[in-house]
Amino acid sequence: MSETVALKKDSGGSAPGATPLLELRGLRVAYGAIEALKGIDLTVGEGEIVALLGGNGAGKTTTLRTISGMLSPRSGEVLLGGDRIDGIKSHDLVRFGIGHVPEGRRVFPRMSVQENLQMGAYRFKSVDAAQLGRVYELFPRLAERRTQLSGTLSGGEQQMLAIGRALMGKPELLLLDEPSMGLAPLVVQQIFEIIKEINAAGTTVLLVEQNAAQALALADRGYVLETGSIAMSGPAREMLADSRIRAAYLGEGAV
């Protein structure tokens, strides 16, 4: 019922789209006494790639987990296409077209590649063969290893599988948590390429990355999270040029 509609990419790509697909308003999230998000506001326009940057423990993962319903906010709102979705459990949220590729890949190790992909389509009555074909087209490596147990895949292959699995749910909004972590340079490039392709095909992307340079090179806009608050935001290209960003996240001239 909530089939994703392919949208053309906003040609301008710089400003938030007219219709923000995702909106966070004053979001506060805490683990027990520790407040990990201290009231953040963030929007992702339809068709955009937005990069969320920040140091370790800044709260990036927490943000994504809150959006996909694994954590519930202490206060604040999460809106998807204008509707409040905070408080909805993650397994229900899947129906709203949110795909989440978690930190550290987390494939189902004792299922084959194909079974993992089928799990991605769990929310549908049956697995859409065409979509499966598209994913295999996007990741020919996975097609080769259809029957291999995914626990024995290499890190990069697992990352591809995790993304492919999320795509099987035909998400409108794809949340990616550090997709380049622990991957070989070549694979990192491939992954970024693929993200670009997915986005071009109409999926909106919220990308969390440590690898700031590449993330910003890819994204339309960016946010920087520092200890639970948004420290900076703006068009990606401008952020790339910002000297503070460059000092802190591109490793230039520091120390």
Binding site: M1, S2, E3, V5, Y31, G32, L80, G81, G82, D83, R84, I85, D86, G87, I88, K89, D92, R95, F96, R106, P109
Partner: protein
């Protein structure tokens, strides 16, 4: 196009976000209380009968008792829902009055700071432990010696294995049996003659060594197994020891058991039937063992155990000889269990394989966890309490229902206070971290997947 889908989405979102009346926590809690009331009603009802299976159900549902219990349940629920604040603040102020009173605070601080105060308190506890039981009736003295003290000794040993080294041992009681049979053997009470008959006191070290060896023999082939597997293998070991005790009639005397084991004798003094001398002996043993073990806990050995418990691979990679330390834990635990076996055998004078039924291993484990795994005071208090409880219940509830209450208590305790009565600091931290999703609080195995 997208307007249509988005309106469908709005509806779905609104529906999913809506909390129906029956989903309200308050209502759920009411429901829970009602179910609980019915369970309590079943627990406290008439003893059923195998010739009329419906007797107890017919009698209890419905009955006046049922209505009363339901009313109480609803009253408790209502107090919690509607008058929680006054009650809580009341109890808080009482607690503050007690815990924050200047006198209490200074005492606590002195306890924390001053080593000598601590020693003083400990000495006082020991003195009380020596004096008070003298005032009890014979029955309770017997319970204290035959059960509480013996189980305490066992629990301290098992605590080393599971609380410190994190090895899930479901067959611990088997070592107790080994100790008891050693005592029987070396005092010449078994069908087979020992090479020389020993004084019971001398049997203690012999039994310790025997159990130590048994511990190592059991441990060596099984310690490479993952936690859960270790559990079932040790359970199997216990079963095997039990069955051998029962069936190797020519050696163990079989199910008829071992009669007439002589009591302790020293310098012409023979321990009488009276439990008190045994009590002093056991207190001495407990004090010595507690003293030695707590030194161990805060030494490199204790730290190595913790390391193994938390991450065996990392421990080995940092030079910790994991097998050796695990065996050490097994052996130490087993030998203290063996001591308990000797004292028990000498005290009661008669035992048979049923004394070592498999349920006991599970019980000791429950005692350790109830008290607070890894914490010596916790284990002492928890075991004493749980052994005492069924005894006191004997007169309060139908005797055969006692273990029903024990089981219920364990479940409630694990849900509301999983760290145990008196947890160790380390263990509490582990639990807290486990709750936050960092690491695994027991070495039962590598986490095979995510947490649920």
């Amino acid at each position: 196009m997208s307007t249509q889908t988005s309106s469908a989405r709005s509806e779905a979102a609104a529906r999913l976000r809506k909390v129906n009346w029956y989903q309200q926590p308050m209502v759920k809690r009411l429901f829970g209380m009602l179910v609980l009331a019915l369970v309590v009603n079943a627990m406290t009802g008439e003893q059923g009968s195998s010739s009329d299976l419906f007797l107890s159900l017919k009698d209890g549902f419905p009955s006046t008792r049922m209505w009363i219990i339901l009313a109480i349940a609803i009253a408790i629920w209502a107090t919690r829902e509607f008058a929680a604040e006054p009650v809580k603040s009341g109890s808080r102020s009482v607690r503050d009055l007690v815990t924050q009173a200047p006198a209490v605070v200074t005492v606590r601080e002195r306890l924390q700071r001053d080593k000598w105060t601590r020693w003083g308190v400990l000495a006082l506890v020991v003195v009380l432990a020596l004096v008070i039981p003298g005032q009890l009736t014979g029955y309770w003295q017997t319970v204290l010696v035959d059960q509480i003290a013996i189980f305490v000794l066992l629990a301290i040993g098992l605590n080393v294995v599971i609380g410190w080294a994190g090895l899930l041992d479901l067959g611990f009681f088997a070592f107790f049996a080994v100790g008891a049979y050693s005592a029987a053997y070396w005092t010449g009470s078994l069908p087979v003659e020992p090479p020389i008959e020993l004084n019971n006191f001398l049997v203690i070290p012999v039994a310790m060594v025997t159990c130590l060896i048994a511990g190592v023999l059991l441990g060596a082939p099984t310690l490479r197994l993952r936690g859960d597997y270790l559990a079932i293998v040790t359970l199997g070991f216990h079963e095997i020891v039990y069955i051998v005790a029962k069936n190797a009639d020519n050696f163990t005397g079989g199910p008829q058991g071992v009669p007439q084991i002589p009591p302790f004798k020293a310098f012409g003094y023979e321990f009488p039937v009276d439990p008190m001398p045994y009590w002093y002996l056991l207190v001495a043993l407990v004090v010595i063992i507690v003293f030695a073990f707590s030194r161990l806990e805060h030494s490199r050995v204790g730290r190595a155990w913790t390391a193994i418990r938390e991450d065996e691979v990392a421990a080995a990679a940092n030079g910790v000889d994991t097998i050796r330390f695990k065996l050490l834990a097994f052996a130490i635990g087993a030998s203290s269990s063996g001591v308990a076996g000797v004292v028990y055998a000498s005290k009661v004078g008669y035992f048979n394989p049923e004394n070592f039924a498999i349920l006991n291993s599970i019980l000791v484990l429950a005692y350790v966890l109830f008290g607070g795994m890894g914490s010596i005071p916790g284990v002492l208090v928890g075991t004493a309490f749980l052994v005492w409880l069924p005894e006191i219940l004997r007169d309060k509830v139908p005797p055969s229902d006692r273990y029903m209450y024990l089981g219920a208590l364990l479940v409630v305790m694990m849900i509301f206070r999983p760290q145990g009565l008196w947890p160790s600091k380390r263990r509490q931290r582990e639990l807290k971290q486990a709750e936050e999703g960092i690491g695994d609080a027991d070495a039962m195995s590598e986490p095979a997947g995510g947490r649920i």
